[in-house]
């Protein structure tokens, strides 16, 4: 019998420890699929950030460096400059990348570092218990915005994929979601494309992935998944915002 679906080679054969309904597993799968497609697993160095995403090395069968909170793009810069033949990517959450790490992401992108950034946006700080993130939607209640995010006080949710597209060093910037089979397939294509940019040495590539955090949103997995489509996508528009042609 022909096998038509299997675990990507770049993923370890382990059980997930993430919460029920969390999208990390799906996103890991897509990233591993892109590594397999481009045949880079054996020369990949992943950079793990702080938060739930730190557990990269438990799932991907690749070498990994752990970075301090927000600093993954700087760590990846050091890795890539020292070892330009390696494939280097960071995997960061929204608190990590869009709050404490804004200087590092903007300048690594602006330098055009030949790395790929996977940015997982679930509008909250997950591991620390669901506090307000820079991406928290206006009105969204979190453990530190108990009355809902107030635009006049807390500012607006930051749109990183669009921001990245403005920077000269960025070759590729896109936003995808993993809330439906259709979106997952689109995300797969986009992540493959983003990895391809680095494989070809074409500069900095960035993919924002909208995902759910059912535990901290206080929703069951199905409702949390539905929220991605109903509340997040209308504000965080999906699409490819920059794609430098060869």
């Amino acid at each position: 019998m022909q096998q038509v679906f299997k675990r990507p080679q770049s993923l370890k054969d382990v059980q997930t420890h993430f919460c029920p309904g969390c999208h990390h597993g799906t996103i890991h799968r897509l990233v591993a699929d892109a590594m397999d497609l481009h045949g880079v697993q054996e020369r990949t160095i992943g950079v793990a950030s702080v938060g739930c995403s730190v557990f990269l090395y438990g799932y991907f069968d690749i070498d990994v460096v752990e970075a301090p909170h927000g600093r993954a793009p700087a760590v990846a810069t050091g890795v890539k400059r020292a070892k330009p033949d390696n494939f280097v990517f960071t995997y960061q959450g929204d608190g990590d990348l869009a709050a404490i790490g804004t200087a590092e992401i903007i300048h690594a992108a602006n330098r055009g570092e030949d790395i790929t950034v996977i940015f997982v946006n679930n509008t909250t700080y997950g591991m620390t218990g669901g506090q307000m993130a820079p991406t928290t939607l206006v009105g969204q209640k979190t453990s530190t915005s108990p009355y809902g995010r107030d635009k006049s006080k807390d500012g607006s949710p930051i749109r990183m994929a669009e921001l990245m597209a403005q920077l000269g060093g960025v070759a590729y910037s896109a936003r995808v979601a993993v809330d439906s089979p259709k979106h997952v397939l689109e995300a797969k294509k986009v992540i493959r494309e983003a990895f391809g940019y680095q494989v070809q040495g074409r500069g900095f590539s960035f993919v924002e992935v909208l995902s759910a955090c059912p535990t901290n949103w206080g929703m069951n997995p199905l409702k949390a998944n539905a929220r991605v489509g109903e509340e997040m996508i209308p504000y965080f528009q999906l699409g490819v915002f920059k794609k430098e042609e060869a």
Partner: protein, 356 residues
Amino acid sequence: MSKRLFVKGNEAAAMGAVAAGCRYYFGYPITPQSDIPEYLSRELPKLNGEFIQAESEIGAINMLLGASATGVRAMTSSSSPGISLKQEGISYMAGAELPGVIINISRSGPGLGGIDASQSDYFQAVKGGGHGGYHIPVLAPNSVQEMYDLTLHAFDLADLYRTPVMLLGDSVVGQMKEALVPNPRPVRELPEKEWAVRGKGSAEQRVVKSLFLGDGELEAHNWRLHAKYQVMKEKECISEEFETADAKLIVTGFGSVSRIAQTAVAMAREEGLKVGLFRPVTLFPFPEKALAEAAGRAGRVLVIELNTGQMVEDVRLSVGAAAKVSFYGRPPGAGSLPSPEELLDVIRKNYDQAPQ
């Protein structure tokens, strides 16, 4: 035979780094150490190396973390307020046991302070600085030659012990020019970097991390780091002594002020006072045993620092009840560097109180 050069201390340190095989530098400008990135921005590209002016000191130390994780020799440099920003990364590197060299041409503080020669960052350098209860080797040069020699030594220590190493100077040793003979010493026997990430190929996965969640894992990790510091204390202390054999008063100080103190000690000897100088070259590990021996013979120690008293605490811990310890400090401020005559006067006063 190497030629004799006439260079600045900062340049000597940068030359030492190149001689040590460092090809990757990440930094952010700050006075009084900017000669180091300026020199390396010129020289590293010629050697197929990389110079990056980072967006901040935080960016720079994390680039160093990333480069070091791949096994290459790399470094950063900064000055006090910049070193404060780097402490996060230094703690992570200490936790993940990553080598790397950090040159700190310190300035005065707290806060913005000034660019005077100052030794007010002793605590920050030798007591960990960042979070988590770690130590890193700290080397204190007092000449242009030592800026070169100790930078080479710093890279060896870093690789041998898998640790960040700090070279702690100030604007006197960084900015002054003197003769340098750039003779690279033979490198110590160093272990293979079997921990470095490289892209796993068909081999085992390698992970560089400081997160240890398993039952008892972090405690074991911390005891292991502690044991490493005990080995350093046993094997890596460096100090220098001048006229200490028959001394009744030991003067001690590190870095730039030790030069002035040595002149004052020589002047005191001319007056017939039996005074000696003990200079710690490694501030961590602190040369406790050697100092305790010299101090025990003399019975009295005078500590001179360009601050209000920091190393004096380690001196007291080292000598215990074996000697009386007194302190003379000149915290930074324009023109506050003590003259040899000023220190001679302090030596005379302390000598008169020396136990007979």
